[in-house]
Amino acid sequence: MLKKGLFGMVLSVALVAMFFVPAYAAPEPYLVGAAISITGPGSEPLAPIKDALDIYFKDVNAKGGINGHPVKLLIEDTMNEPSRAATQARQLVTQNKVSLLILAGLSSLYAPVVQVAEQYNVPLLFLGVCPPETYPPKADPNQFCSTAFGMKFDSSFAVPFIHEQSKGSSLKLALEAMNVPLSRNEIDWAEQLAKSMGIEVVDKEVTPPPTADFTPFATKMKSSGATWAYSYGPWGMEVRTFEALRKLGWKGKYLAYGHIQAEDELKRLKDDDFYVYGTNAFFTDNTQAHQRIKAMSEKEKTVYPYTQLTDGWIGATVIEEVLKKVPWPATPDKVRESMNQVKVDTQGLKGGPIVWTKTNHYRTTGYYRAYKWDSKKNAVVIAKDWTAIEVK
């Protein structure tokens, strides 16, 4: 009995005490708050971002920081829960006084976190995925985006690419999206685009998020007689639909958006007709930046493999570039000011620099590249090199 009472008392005391533990008191560093989906459903493309940020800024701080000040990352795990993300964003802004907020989470987390950014007037940088509010002609003052994908631009590369690849043969296109806003909107746009280019769209599938078995969808796509399929959504859906199609004996070609897992997966699947496209260069390029990521990742023993760190690394480069132009002491306003006119050299990780202006918080030009597996060379090869898409 006494033990139980003690248990309760210790617990309640601990509960109360935890809230009065001073979190972070040191004022010197640049404070950057990040709400990242590290655990919880749908976190697999987002969790590696944390790894990349960690190793990048460890390196930066080891070299003396930015303008003589270290960068302190305050990372919270949203578990992909909207309310939790909102509370954490508020905590980062009001309690930890960060001057830049980062969000890497599913699209359902935008609204709550944007609210906080607006309320406290703090710039918000999206990593992973980002909302159309950052696009020109009128970008939201507080929202910025350095991510790989961008709604309505990705398919502007993908659909013409399919059109081009299928020259000379009949083209029947099947489309697939997951029933999450981003994926669905993009596929709707792709359908519109394809029709305007005279491509015959024979099937469009929208899969619910927790699908156990993609075979029914693949069956429908196959029976529609498609020669090409284009899938835009989480990697799991894209690749599982492809595998389901192959299991059913479908012989067509398949284009998917290349998420962070794409490079390793191309090597696993070894299928000549499986194409991926994206804005990041693969490690086959082996630029200096790639070598650095690989070396740092191996040194720091990151949780995720180095091939998945490019997105986060680019985000970190952007942050460094922004903070460099922020005079000490850093405030949200100064950071925003700096972000409104920044040009980030992506060092070969992308096809070109990321440029932000006052009215464009996405980038002025998007660069896309397509990859595929070449079984003759037994290697991943470029199917179409950097193609610039103007963002207007």
Partner: protein, 290 residues
């Protein structure tokens, strides 16, 4: 034709997951909401074994099965044992908490990356043409066959062995069983072990046939419509239940709207509760028990 094959494979998968649920429910009247997590754990065990111990599929499957059974025992002895005699709601909540714990462990040990145990074992998932237009993958066949054999084995065990007989007795009247010298804990643990095995086995096959990711726990939600349509306490009912749910899902995908396929099993569940709440093969008395 292809649709029928797909439905059979899906139904086999559901019945594999569902039978563990029914076993636990029958033995201890505990509703296990962590069935999806047990399934995912099976997949992850297979992956670990395939990566670390053996490269061959059969020993990998065997060792992973042993791990699954062990997990079931551990869950029983470290958690569910204490929930005996608590309210229905508390027992449900504890299985939910167990699910959260297991999901956390999965992210902790295997991170949230996508894995492919098949690749580690160095085998491929080839397709076979059954009849014209109907194709089935190797692991699709494995799903159907293993569902068949596991059910056969369970039926034989429950019907003809001492253990089966006693399991039945424990489920029917634990007090009396315990008065006759039957060690309740052993039988409850056994039911958890077998449930973790059947669920885990489904997870192993699923991870080979598709992919291994934490999100696969969501399949576990389908268990409830499956078992309720069949009858909560009826092992035989799981199979028709699984078929009804799989068919409802396929129909929703093909003829209504793909998103409806998520809600369709639950609509089926509600209709069932409306017209025959004790399920196709369940016993009516069960309604009064819970």
């Amino acid at each position: 034709m292809q649709i029928i094959v797909n439905t059979v494979v899906l139904a086999s998968l559901y019945s594999l997951i569902g039978c563990g649920f029914v076993l636990i429910y029958r033995a201890s009247r505990v509703v296990n909401l962590a069935q999806g997590e047990l399934m995912a754990m099976g997949g992850y065990f297979l992956f670990t074994v395939a990566m670390g111990l053996f490269k061959e599929p059969i020993p990998s499957f065997l060792v992973a099965s042993v791990f699954s059974v062990g997990l079931g025992f551990i869950i029983y002895f470290f958690l569910m044992r204490f929930m005996a005699g608590e309210s229905v709601f508390a027992a449900i909540l504890s299985t939910i908490a167990l699910g959260i714990l297991l999901r956390g462990l999965i992210t902790l040990i295997w991170t949230s990356q996508l894995w492919h145990p098949l690749e580690k074992m160095g085998i491929t998932n080839a397709s076979h043409t059954l009849v014209k237009d109907a194709v089935i993958s190797t692991f699709g066949i494995v799903t159907v066959l293993s569902a068949f054999f596991i059910y056969l084995a369970l039926f034989l065990c429950l019907k003809f062995t001492r253990w089966g007989l006693r399991m039945q007795a424990v489920g029917e009247n634990p007090l009396l069983a315990s008065r006759r010298g039957i060690k309740l804990h052993n039988y409850y643990a056994l039911s958890w072990g077998v449930a973790a095995f059947t669920g885990g086995f489904a997870g192993m096959i699923q991870s080979c046939d598709a992919i291994l990711e934490p999100g696969m726990v969501a399949i576990g939600l389908k268990t409830f419509p499956v078992v309720l349509v069949g009858g909560l306490d009826s092992l035989a009912g799981v199979i028709p239940g699984a078929f009804v749910v799989a068919i409802a899902e396929v129909i929703a995908i093909n003829y209504i709207s793909p998103q409806a396929s998520e809600a369709a099993p639950f609509v089926v569940l509600l209709i069932m509760l409306l017209i025959r709440p004790w399920g196709l093969f369940g016993t009516k008395e069960e309604l009064e028990r819970v």
